[in-house]
Structures are given as C-alpha cells and as structure tokens.
C-alpha cells in the first residue's frame, strides 16, 4: 500500500550508489563511504568528493537467507565486505555462486538493480561487486 522509495532520495543517492562517490577528509586524509557532512574519524568538515576504485578485495562475505520483504525471491543474497583501496564498503555480490566465494578474492564493481517499488514505478540501481573477470571468460 505504501510507497517505499522516495523519488527525491533516489536522485540524491546517485553519486554514492552509481559511482561509488565517497568523501576524503582534507584534515586527516581518511576516506569514508557513503559521504557524510563531517569526517566520522576526526570531525573535520573540510571534505572533498572522491570516487572509490572500482576493483578491490573481498575481506569477508556472508550468504544471507533472512532477506527482507519484497525480496524473498532473491534469497540467498550474497553480501560482501569489500576493501577498495583504503576504504571498506558493504555491498551485494552478484554473478557468483556462493561456493566460489573466498576471502581475499578480487572483485569489481558493476551496476545492478538493487530495489524496485512497483507502485511508484521507481527502480533504484546501485553498485554491486562480482568476481573479477579474467580474460573475458565470463558474461557480465
């Protein structure tokens, strides 16, 4: 009955969700994701937007069966803790079988549909990660 996704919010989050936009603190040099109004590490408001690398390493992962409403057809969802340079992000893993996941494996960002709201006609895309392609042997 209720529209679950907001149209203005869908526009606002495009930077972080589509392009892995993060914020770099000019005071302490640390990067955080998603971007906040101040640095969560040192409190400085002197930040600049940066784009995270699109390739990284899987530091941990989980195969999630207890998935939320509206997404049960997707279960299980693969979830990764991905290190992108100096930053860790949490995101879904796609195009992979649970059995092939290993910590330390290389992954790369791809854009996928992450949520949809049928009633409002909104589809929200976002970055997911897939095992890094080697020599183009896999489909995207």
């Amino acid at each position: 009955m209720s529209m679950d996704l907001s149209v203005p919010e869908t526009w606002r989050v495009k930077g972080p969700l589509y392009r892995l936009e993060a914020a770099r603190c000019k005071t302490c040099g640390r990067i955080h994701y998603p971007p906040m109004p101040a640095c969560p590490y040192c409190g400085s408001r002197d930040l600049e937007r940066v784009t995270l690398p699109s390739e990284g390493v899987l530091e941990s992962y989980s195969v999630v069966y207890a998935v939320p409403e509206g997404s049960r057809h997707k279960a299980p969802v693969l979830l990764g803790l991905v290190r992108l340079g100096r930053v860790r992000v949490v995101a879904e893993i796609t195009d992979a079988d649970p059995s092939e996941l290993r910590t330390g494996m290389e992954v790369e960002a791809v854009l996928r549909r992450i949520r949809s709201d049928r009633e409002a006609g909104i589809i929200r895309y976002g970055v997911m990660f897939r095992p890094k392609l080697k020599g183009g042997s896999r489909g995207g």
Partner: protein
C-alpha cells in the same frame, strides 16, 4: 547523586498476539509501579524502536502516559536502535539528577510479531545507515555474518567453537521464567540449524518476540529499593563495525569501558554479573572481547570452558539467557537487562541466581556498532 531502582516489572518475551503495544506496556508498568508501591510519577520515559514503524504511534510516550493513567507527567520517548532501553535508563537518571523529577517510570516496549518477519527484517535493516546501506537486500543479520567469518578466519576459531556462545545463553535461560526460549541447546545443533547469514544460523540469532519491561527510578531510597544506578553512559557517533579500523574491536564499546574504569575504577571483568547485547553470536564475542572479558579470539573458547557461568572465574554473563534466549524485543531489551540485574542484586531474581553478586553491568551497541551504551548497578543491601 545516586538513583535508586525501586520497582521492576518484566513480561515474558514471546508472541503476545492478544496484547496491543499499550496493553503489553501496561503489564510491565503496573507491575513496576506496584512493586515500588507508588501510583504516581513525575516523568515517564519510554524506550521503543520498531514500534515507530509497526504500531506507528507518534508521541508514543505521551499517549502511553495517558493510557497508563499517569497524566501530568513529563514524558521522553527514547529511540536508540538496539540500545533504546539503556538510553532510557540514562535519560531517566539525568531527569532525577537534574531535579526535574523525583520518581520516574521507565517503560521499554516493542512488538515484533504484528507483521510478517520479512517486513520486520526490512525495518531492522534501518539500524544501519538508512539512505544508502539499508537499500541493499541484505537483511539485518548480514553484517553479523560478515563479522563472524572475519572472526573465524583471523583467529582460527572453528564454527563448532563459536556455537558454545549461544549454548551458554540457552543453558542460562532455562531457569528464566521471562525468557522466550527457556531451554538448553546442544552446541552441535547450532551449525545444522536453519541458515540465516552464513556462517550464522537461526541458533546464532535472536528470536523475533514481543516484550515489555519497566523500572521505577527514584531519587530517594525507600524500603523497596532493589539496587542503585552508579553509572549510565553512552558514546555515539563512532565509525560502524565495518568502517572501524578493526571491525572486531568497535571504538564505541572501548570508549564506554574506558569511562567505566575512569569514573568508578572498575573494569568490566571485575563485575559479578553482566548482561550483554549479543544480537548475534559474532556480536556477543566481539562485545565480550572489547570489554576485556576475554582476550581477542578467546571469548567463545572461554564460554565453552564455562568461564562465564556459575562457578567460572569470570563474571556470569547473560544469566537471563541473553538476547539469544531471553529474547530481544528491540527497544525494550535494555530495560529488561537493568531490571534483571536489579533483581539479581536484591536476591529476588527468579532465574539463574548469582549468590552474593554486588555489581551488575549492562552493555549494548547500537545495530551497526557506532554507538555503545553502558549501565552499572550496585546492590543496596
């Protein structure tokens, strides 16, 4: 100024289909008021989390004050994720110390069974950063699963060893008449249970249940005083588990443990009884280690060896059964913890009794680990 706990009211955590949020709250509240032998208070502090999106009552504290027949009271509605209950105790203590109130009713209440569990999972995900992170269909348990794997791989701890943490909770809960799951489990059953967020299973995670707990706090002790609150503190705004330098050692929890030592000279390991906010097995061991109850990588082994149960050489952890077995009616849980500790210290606890306990500690992190809340209570006997 000390704050006395003079009344405690606990309801069994479970599926209370027949009770509305206010009726469930009233059960606990009336029991707390009666046990303190008072019928009026200056303030009502309500702790609730999920109810904003389930029952959906705005001005919840005001409406509850009316439903409980307590008109004229000042009201505070406290929402702090998993830690709302401890935040409410902290706020109530401030009201008393400020002289704004002499007698405060704290009521924690949440109902997680009015809707299907997949809706509740979606709402629980909002404990994490909601604009970007909570959009993924990862469920509430996902991050706990990531942390479990990280823990196992870093410390070489096997899945079977981790299972002793929830087994400890359950072995304690079987004595607790308020527990949702009052029975022991075989640690060998944990990895074989329904998968929730690998490597975690249903037996690693808290059950979805309804609950209400209440306390009466007063500025002056009287014959019914069960315990006193010595310290109630919190530290918010730290990096979440996954953003933190070390995901297995949240800075927020380290900070409240440091404050405890600084203010009272007491280390968590020297307290007699501890109620820990172990939403999942991995969070339980991380909290235990961040508080210094175990060395890094050792909490599950220590649990296996009986260190945290009666007769062990550590504090007794989760005599209630913890979030795993007593249950975790999210916003209410912190109030349960403090109520259980107060009864423990006054020798009235109907569950696993820790004889001679003088000090009890409750510690909870918010869902994503960015905040931590701590309450230390002491006996008054």
């Amino acid at each position: 100024m000390e704050v006395y706990i003079t009344g405690v009211g606990l309801t069994k955590v479970g599926r209370h289909f027949d009770l509305s949020l206010r009726e469930l709250a009233a059960r606990a509240a009336f029991e707390a008021l009666d046990s303190a032998r008072i019928d009026k208070v200056d303030a009502v502090v309500v702790a609730s989390t999920l109810s904003y999106r389930e029952a959906g009552q705005f001005d919840l504290a005001g409406h509850l004050a009316g439903a409980l027949g307590l008109k004229g009271a000042q009201t505070l509605a406290m929402e702090a994720g998993d830690a709302s209950g401890l935040a409410a105790v902290e706020a109530a203590c401030s009201l008393i110390r400020a002289g704004s109130a002499e007698r405060v009713l704290v009521v924690g209440v949440d109902k997680l069974t009015d809707y299907v569990s997949s809706r509740v999972y979606r709402d629980l995900q909002r404990l994490y950063e909601a604009e970007v992170q909570a959009l993924y269909d990862i469920g509430h348990a996902g991050v706990a699963g990531l942390l479990a794997r990280l823990y196992m791989e870093r410390y070489g701890v096997g899945r079977d060893t981790l299972s002793y943490w929830p087994a400890m909770d359950h072995s304690h809960a079987k004595h607790n008449p308020y527990a949702m799951l009052p029975f022991a489990i075989d640690p060998a059953a944990v990895p074989r249970a329904l998968k929730v967020a690998e490597p975690l299973t249903l037996l690693d995670s808290f059950p979805l249940g309804d609950g209400a707990a209440a306390l009466v706090l007063e500025s002056e002790p009287h014959g019914d005083a069960r315990a006193k609150v010595v310290l109630a503190t919190s530290a918010a705004g730290y990096p979440s588990f996954t953003m933190n330098e070390d995901p297995l050692a949240p800075e927020s929890v380290g900070e409240v443990a440091a404050r405890l030592r600084e203010v009272t000279g007491i280390a968590p390991a020297n307290v007699d009884v501890i109620e820990l906010g172990d939403t999942f097995t991995s969070i339980g061991v991380i909290l235990a280690e961040s508080l210094g109850l175990s060395k890094p990588g050792r909490a599950a082994v220590d649990a296996m060896e009986g260190r945290f149960t009666l007769g062990g050489d550590g504090p007794v952890v989760n005599p209630s059964g913890g979030l795993k077995a007593r249950g975790h009616p999210v916003g209410a849980t912190g109030v349960y913890m403090v109520g259980e500790l107060a009864l423990q210290l006054s020798g009235e606890y109907p569950g696993l009794r820790v004889d001679g306990a003088r000090r009890g500690l409750a510690v909870m992190a918010s869902g994503d680990g960015s905040s931590a809340h701590l309450v230390l209570v002491e006996g008054v006997a």
